[in-house]
Symmetry: C2
DNA sequence: TAAAATCCTACCGTAATGGTAGGAATTAGG
DNA sequence: CCTAATTCCTACCATTACGGTAGGATTTTA
């Protein structure tokens, strides 16, 4: 299960990406629009700011704003920042690796071999999708809704991305 | 994180698949070979038996044994049986669906659109891999270890599997 | 009948999750 | 300079899931 923290963060980021032009937006506004507990969202946006993806301004007319372009925000990094590594096994995490303890031989561990594929597939999606791409996809879902055409997730142009070095 | 319950189960099943010819194998034997807490494994194997994938015999010379062919055991079902549905969001689970509560419009929910892909990719792997295939892969890893050739997970012959209806 | 095994029920400590409470610091507008 | 709106920061807390353990009842073989 993706933790609420990450769910709320993604929702808030999509919202902020949509309202880039409107200047800083207060937490209360986002919370109301997305039905997220205010104080909880407050803490989440603070973390996102401390990790460099948001800017904030205090006082009246203050609020949060994207610091970087939505095209440069990789969703995997968002999830990682808030909820830690996503590896399904400790021995598959690059950033927080540690042996499984019970594992007799890591290179021939059945569980590891299976979950390595799962992990790789997950990373390819979450790290291969940017905030901009996600917003585009939501738009596509909104307009294509009637015709029922569910579209793919990566409408990103350019060469199929130069060897991303996925972390976790 | 894949729960220990499922990890242990997968290890035990691989072990049992390897020792199919040896008749029933007592819990203590598997636990010792795979470094799994005995009483915990006891409970796990019991569940696997109740779900129909293992047979048991009591008393001396008793133990556990595969009830079905390893080619028919889909690893996704094993995980589901022991640890419940794997959907990363409640609204993506077929077997335990329920709305996210905070979700304003489910069909245009950004989080859902993203995680749907992750979920699908995961199911394609865990439900597309059988116990037999996993054992084969471990063997491949064991022999290919020196040459360092990491091989793919599905050496299954036949057409690319007739529309599996993945559950969770 | 003794020993080896499965089977079953109950319990339990620890950590993570999903928040809430309360207030301090900053800033804009009047 | 005062007030109100906002971010920022520190604590706390209830509930649940996880990863087991304990103890014994039941079955079966030798």
């Amino acid at each position: 299960m993706l933790p609420m923290k990450s769910r709320y963060a993604l929702k808030a980021l999509v919202f902020l990406a949509r309202h880039q032009a409107d200047g800083p937006i207060p937490v209360a506004g986002i919370a109301a629009a997305e039905a997220i507990p205010v104080k909880f969202l407050e803490a989440i946006l603070l973390e996102l700011r401390n990790s460099g993806i948001l800017t904030s301004r205090r006082g009246p007319t203050g609020g949060y704003q994207l610091r970087v372009a939505p095209q440069t925000v990789h969703l995997g990094d968002v999830i990682r920042n808030l909820s830690g590594p996503m590896a399904p096994l400790p021995c598959l995490s690059k950033s927080a690796y540690h042996r499984c303890g019970e594992c007799v031989d890591e290179t021939t561990c059945a569980v590891r071999l299976l979950m390595a594929d799962v992990h790789a597939a997950t990373l390819r999606i979450v790290d291969g999708t940017t905030l901009a791409a996600l917003v585009a996809r939501v738009d596509a879902a909104a307009s294509g809704e009637a015709e029922g055409q569910s579209q793919r997730c990566r409408p990103q142009e350019g060469p199929p991305s130069a060897k991303l070095d996925f972390i976790d």
